[in-house]
Point group: C2
Chain length 212, copies 2
Amino acid sequence: MKYSVVIVEDHILLSQALAGLVNGFSKFKILYLCKNGRELLTRLKDPKNIPDVVLMDINMPIMNGIETTIALKEEYPEVNVLALSVEEDEKTILKMLRAGAKGYLLKDTEKSILENALVEVQETGFYHTKDVTNLLLGSLNPKKENKVLLKEREMEFIKHACTEKTYKEIASDMCLSPKTIEGYRDSIFEKLHLKNRTGLVIYAIKNKIFIP
Amino acid sequence: MKYSVVIVEDHILLSQALAGLVNGFSKFKILYLCKNGRELLTRLKDPKNIPDVVLMDINMPIMNGIETTIALKEEYPEVNVLALSVEEDEKTILKMLRAGAKGYLLKDTEKSILENALVEVQETGFYHTKDVTNLLLGSLNPKKENKVLLKEREMEFIKHACTEKTYKEIASDMCLSPKTIEGYRDSIFEKLHLKNRTGLVIYAIKNKIFIP
DNA sequence: TATCAAAGGGGTGTTTGCCCCTTTTTATTA
DNA sequence: TAATAAAAAGGGGCAAACACCCCTTTGATA
């Protein structure tokens, strides 16, 4: 009996092509394909649709891989998730692993490595490349707290600050007094060592708080 | 006799998966795979390695799809290029088509469409989805000149404006009077319909004048 | 020599950045 | 449970920076 695999990936061509590869592996067969996380969660409601492994892309519209993995683990903790992404961003990888992924694979790998990863995840419970292992080790002794210091409300303000609005307009949009907004700004400037709004905009874009 | 196909794509997994798909098509077979444009150009030096069609990714390290297509068409104009990308950016698509690509396919398509596109490109010489056709039509009667209006000195100023420097500091860096800098700013604001420096920074980043 | 663009300037009102300080809300813990 | 932090929210005032007028000088060039 082969292990069943579901692929969650928004690029249909890649999804179908991967399906071809997986069906060629001796121990695995594709159950079905999904275009995003929501579609997966919907289909899982039918017990016949619960696979052994989910091959999960991270960047997806509608519902991304991290949210989907969290929701999936909540309901079906026995399903193994293998993350698949071009994203090498440290924070993203850690988020995905914390969400419950059992392995993390870059799209830039050999098909034999994919097969090996699937086998490992299914039979030993995890698979990680040297890169990801090193990353994990590095994150154990972290460089103090480096960014948890931004609060939810401040993040929201930053997004507004990345527009042509004045602080007065931002205040009105956020239903706060202009003085409160100035308070947000001042405390952010201090925490991030910024001198002015231009610096804040650049910071926000660099750190993907605001995407132009 | 099947038509030969070469895939140029930096993500090896996708490359191999696509190869599987293409080898499943009745009229096509994979000749070999390349990880980037330079690799393709090197291999083409052997006449045995000249394929009928190249399936070309656009975003690649080392040598991207556009440069590669231009170089390829220079030496081997009879090879058909089918572009393959997630990029829906108008300018990129047009550049690729001007470089000589015979078709443009989004990664977000069905495998049957890939097969159809390959057939069309090989047998009729071109393949375009409705989206790309509309884009082409739109670019025929262009909206006047839309961006040549920025002068060299203004571009330089914009880069400085994307920092925490004040206008006074920018003036001193560019060896100009602060009033001249303000003049640059005012004329740019007017030409680009911007309201303040924040808007300018966002514009500069969107248009790759400044890369954060 | 007329023209046009680049460079520079004066004046003014608004926005921003940065001090200080008070009130309200939300946790924490003695 | 009351006492006490400690946040979040709001405020006054001020100087610097920014945005927006309208105007002059300079220099190339047609």
